[in-house]
């Protein structure tokens, strides 16, 4: 069957199935199980209304449980096991973890990930704040924002191709087609550089891609926050003789601090999971390995489920503080 036709059929079956489930489950509840008539009408309505929320929630709970909650437990379990011949598993305790920590590639990935976590959220939030502030009262500010925001729509893989062209290096005696090397030579560089193959610095060149993508996100949110600042506070500062820098750093920033934290953590999570960029641009060569790509290597290239799961748990462990903090805040807000 043609995949397009198959896709169409699935849409019909999937959507029809969903609608059918919700509709018929409701009908069953009201007309068969607890009829709203007869001597027990009142009690039946109450009972039906107790069950109804769970009808509405059931597909979501199944999907969430199966696709997000169960894997956390299963991966934790796998990280303590090793695969034996014949689809058997043996318990090895923390062996996978200790083997992993002894591997130089893993240490490299950890170091690089920490570097990513420090630089990318800071740079993206910083640029985003700058862009938000600069475009705020500009007549063509919305167009400028659209363009800075645009990379959000571009896939990591697409961005990888885009930046590979930027970083492209050609032999010294022919024309440079990568703009970075072109500018490097124009501004007095001696010879074209293979930017992605210079250890340590190449990490920064990969980070640029993610910063380029995430800045728009930071800008959109921070720009809304800046608009929400009460005018009076700024006007009062002007009357008191504050200069623009003081107004920005001492009046505005403190008032949008909570939004900055939200943006920062959101980008941190995105950074922690970064995979496609490294996978497509260097695949971890030249000392650019990161955790997510290391994990992919272990799982699908080395076929080592134990160490792969152990490294996945490390990513989970790094997300956990943010998870707890988010849940804590959400509960506080609901009260």
């Amino acid at each position: 069957m043609h995949p397009a036709l198959q896709g169409l059929l699935t849409i019909v079956i999937g959507v029809g199935g969903c609608v059918g489930y919700f509709y018929s489950a409701n009908l069953f509840l009201d007309k068969v199980l607890f009829k709203a008539e007869g001597p027990n009408a009142g009690r039946n309505i109450n009972r039906a209304n107790m069950i109804r929320p769970w009808l509405f929630l059931l597909p979501a709970i199944i999907a969430l449980g199966l696709y997000l909650a169960y894997p956390v437990v299963a991966t934790l379990r796998l990280s303590f096991l090793e695969r034996l011949p014949g689809n058997e598993f043996g318990f090895v305790g923390f062996d996978n973890y200790s083997k992993m920590f002894a591997e130089p590639k893993f240490i490299e990935a950890m170091k690089n990930n920490v570097l990513w976590l420090i630089i990318v959220p800071a740079a993206a939030t910083g640029f985003g704040l700058l862009a938000a502030q600069l475009t705020d009262r500009l007549s063509w500010g919305n167009i400028a924002k659209s363009i800075v925001f645009m990379p959000m729509a571009i896939s990591f893989v697409g961005a990888a191709v885009i930046f590979k062209l930027v970083y492209e290096a050609r032999p010294e005696d022919v024309a440079q087609i990568g703009i970075l090397n072109h500018l490097y030579l124009v501004f007095g560089g001696a010879e074209p550089q293979q930017w992605l193959q210079i250890p340590f610095w190449n990490n920064l060149f990969l980070m640029v891609v993610l910063i380029w993508i995430q800045t728009g996100f930071a800008m959109v949110i921070l720009s809304a926050a800046l608009r929400g600042i009460p005018e009076e506070t700024v006007e009062a500062a002007i009357i008191d003789g504050a200069n623009p820098f003081q107004i920005f750093f001492k009046i505005k920033i403190p008032q949008i601090m909570s939004t900055i934290v939200v943006v920062w953590t959101t980008i941190t999570i995105a950074t922690l999971k970064v995979f496609d960029i490294v996978f497509a641009m260097t695949n971890g060569q030249w000392e650019t390995q990161v955790l997510a790509n290391y994990m992919y290597d272990k799982l699908f290239r080395a076929n080592d489920w134990g160490m792969g799961s152990a490294s996945a748990m490390i990513i989970m462990l790094m997300v956990t503080p943010i998870l707890v903090w988010n849940v804590y805040n959400a509960r506080k807000e609901m009260r």
């Binding site: 995949p3 896709g7 699935t10 999937g14 919700f22 509709y23 409701n26 929320p53 509405f56 929630l57 979501a60 999907a63 696709y67 997000l68 909650a69 894997p71 299963a74 009262r137 363009i147 800075v148 645009m150 959000m152 729509a153 571009i154 896939s155 893989v157 697409g158 990888a160 191709v161 885009i162 590979k164 062209l165 930027v166 022919v174 024309a175 440079q176 087609i177 703009i179 380029w212 800045t215 996100f217 959109v220 949110i221 002007i238 107004i247 939200v262 959101t266 999570i269 922690l272 995979f275 496609d276 497509a280 997510a292 699908f300 996945a312 990513i315 989970m316 997300v319 998870l323 849940v327």
Partner: protein, 385 residues
């Protein structure tokens, strides 16, 4: 604010210039890819894409027609070759100067006659017509070389797109991958919206024990990295017979997209006016009716925002497709995977890479610019406050 920025013209200028720089910095990388996708491979390697936007000075090295075949006997042992140096096709550029060896580039103006010594002459006009005259010995063997300095106008072509999308002999084309991506994306966008909308309504407007805990769980699951799900779920899919395929990838995208969907939609639905819903209840509407007749239409902006998110995310996804969809046969490859392959096999063929990448970027970009309003709204509602 206005007062600060507007006080001095120089500040306004500095502001405008810095924003222009910022915008250019952000636009340049994409623009490079876009422009490159309209150039031939030779053009791309010959000069940077930025120089292709303007008419460029180039030195073209051309030979006159082969004298042994084309010479005309003028009598007295004199021979002549006539023709157009640019061949049959009209030359789009403009000749500024020319020379007859690499040591005297640009020595002659158009229309000049160059003296090649011993009575041999070469005349070249601006339109490319030339006359090459000399004796039997001179007008034979290898044809005279001419170095023409010319400004050539920008020259773009659609042949890359033709090759990448429509060439049936191109085994690495994007047409199939494009359809595969579409097949992944549409169900993976619609199904989670439906499931999430019902769940969000229950979490927002129905009263039952355990509601607060469920909401907290959804918030917690928002940040669980999907990396954890790869092996357990692939084993599960294999165990229940789904294996690698579209069904698996649809289910996976549905599961991974749900927390954000529920969170976004619930936040929006909670904000809907209580009066409407209570009035409907008093009038005897059931929860199902309230949901389909009142909540869903009112929640359209939130539904649209999530739809855009999920669309962009599934269209641009590589990891989930790699793990749950693409099998050894490669029949179900998606565009992101195809591009990664091309990066490996056609690393230097920028015309193919740029065009393929742009084919995959074009649809999300169109959606982005058309629906930006909803995307921004969703972002503002979705960031955990």
């Amino acid at each position: 604010m206005d007062a600060i920025a507007g006080r001095k013209p120089i500040v306004v200028w500095a502001l405008n210039i810095s924003v222009v720089l910022l915008v250019l910095l952000w636009l340049f990388p994409t623009l490079g890819l876009f422009v490159s996708s309209f150039r031939t491979g030779d053009q791309i390697t010959a000069s940077g894409w930025w120089s292709s936007l303007f008419a460029s000075e180039q030195t073209l090295q051309i030979r006159a027609a082969d004298p042994d075949d084309n010479r005309v006997d003028l009598g007295n042992g004199r021979y002549m070759v006539e023709g157009n140096i640019f061949g049959e096709e009209a030359f789009g550029g403009e000749m500024t100067a020319w020379g007859t060896s690499s040591r005297n580039l640009g020595a002659n103006a158009p229309g000049d006659t160059a003296d090649l010594g011993d009575g041999e002459t070469f005349t070249l006009n601006a339109d490319g017509t030339y006359v090459w005259e000399g004796d039997d010995d001179q007008i034979s063997g290898r044809a005279q070389r001419v170095f023409v300095d010319a400004t050539t106008p920008p020259d773009f072509t659609l042949q890359n797109y033709n090759f990448v999308l429509f060439d049936e002999n191109n085994s690495e084309g994007m047409a199939k991958a494009f359809f595969n991506t579409l097949t992944v994306v549409i169900p993976a966008t619609i199904i989670p919206i439906l499931i999430a909308a019902f769940a969000a309504y229950a979490l927002a407007w129905m009263d039952f024990p355990g509601r607060a805990i469920l909401i907290a769980i959804v918030v917690g699951l928002l940040v669980v990295p999907l990396q954890l799900a790869l092996i357990p779920l692939l084993s599960l899919h294999n165990a229940i017979g789904i294996g690698k395929g579209y069904l698996g990838v649809w289910l996976a995208h549905t599961g991974f997209g749900l927390p954000l969907a529920i969170y976004l939609l619930r936040n929006y639905m909670v904000g809907l006016p209580r009066d409407i819903i209570e009035n409907a209840k008093v009038d005897g509407a059931t929860d199902f009716q309230i949901f389909t007749k009142i909540i869903l239409p009112l929640s359209f902006p939130a539904l649209a925002s999530f739809a855009i998110f999920q669309f962009l995310w599934t269209w641009n996804d590589l990891l989930v497709a790699l793990v749950f969809l693409i099998d050894a046969s490669g029949q179900t490859t998606v565009m992101t995977k195809q591009i990664v392959e091309l990066l490996g096999t056609r690393g230097g063929d920028w015309e193919i890479l740029a065009t393929s990448a742009f084919v995959s970027i074009a649809v999300p970009l169109a959606v982005f610019f058309a629906m930006q309003k909803y995307l921004v709204r969703g972002l503002l509602a979705g960031s955990v406050k």
